[in-house]
Amino acid sequence: MIKIEEYSLNMGTFFELEKGKTTDSGFEFFIDVSLDSNNGVFRRYHVGNNPVNFVDPWGLCAENNKQQCIQNFLQQNYGNFVANTLVPQFSVISLYTNFASYVKGSAISLSVKGLLVGLPGLASKIATTTGKNLAAYPGMATASANALEAGAFWGTTTATAGSAIAVGLTGASSFATTAHAYAIWACRNVSD
């Protein structure tokens, strides 16, 4: 009797079948079949009906190429978030290796900067300019002082947000780039 073990990669389930029994799993796509010679068990790894988005998420396939090796290495050592999001979007090496994700990361960076630096910076400019203009008119000294104070507040907010973003961006990008370079080095013997 031959045993067949099936692993579902997108549902996280595991079930065991005996040869000749029908399966009601409804899965279509198998990415790997292997025979465990120790106990004569066949293992089939399938990806449900969505093979595009569930490409070997557990690193069960053989490492066929460098990109897959790098992906497996990052997933096993740093987890899914780093492998699927942080490295593709914020590693500077991704400009060459994974351009679409790098564009997405750059767009996120620019959006965050625009929101946290651009808007308060603009408010600071408007308030400061208004305060300076009001100072030229008699009787508007108080209003001018208030506007200048608001400008100073938004200026400080902008500077603080800018420093925080600089630290965060540098940290995230440095970590992602280092992890990416480490993965490339670890997979240096795997062919493209």
Binding site: Y96, Y102, K113, V117, A166, L169, S173, T177
Partner: protein
């Protein structure tokens, strides 16, 4: 949509990479000149410079590594000079 984007990236990869790098350097310029955030601008330019260097260097080859190092060092010199000049300007004003 994603497939169309990938096709676009594949067909115009060099041009689009240059556009993205220009956008990064330009955003650093806006941060430095408009918002007076020199620190953030230097970080932005450093990220762009590192990405440009990585693009030049990969796939690894001796000539590419040499050119990448020259570009990176030259860029870093400019960034450091700008950063130091900014700091000295601030001290003079004080």
């Amino acid at each position: 949509m994603s497939g169309e984007m990938n096709t676009l990236f594949d067909n115009h990869s060099t041009f689009l990479r240059v556009v993205v790098l220009l956008a990064i350097f330009l955003s650093g310029y806006v941060e430095a000149v408009f918002f007076k955030l020199k620190d953030l601008a230097c970080v932005t330019w450093f990220m762009g410079l590192a990405a440009l260097t990585a693009w030049i260097v990969y796939p690894l080859a001796t000539v590419r590594i040499f050119i990448g190092v020259v570009v990176f060092v030259t860029g870093m010199i400019f960034i450091i000079l700008y950063y130091r000049k900014t700091k000295s300007d601030k001290e003079e004003k004080v």
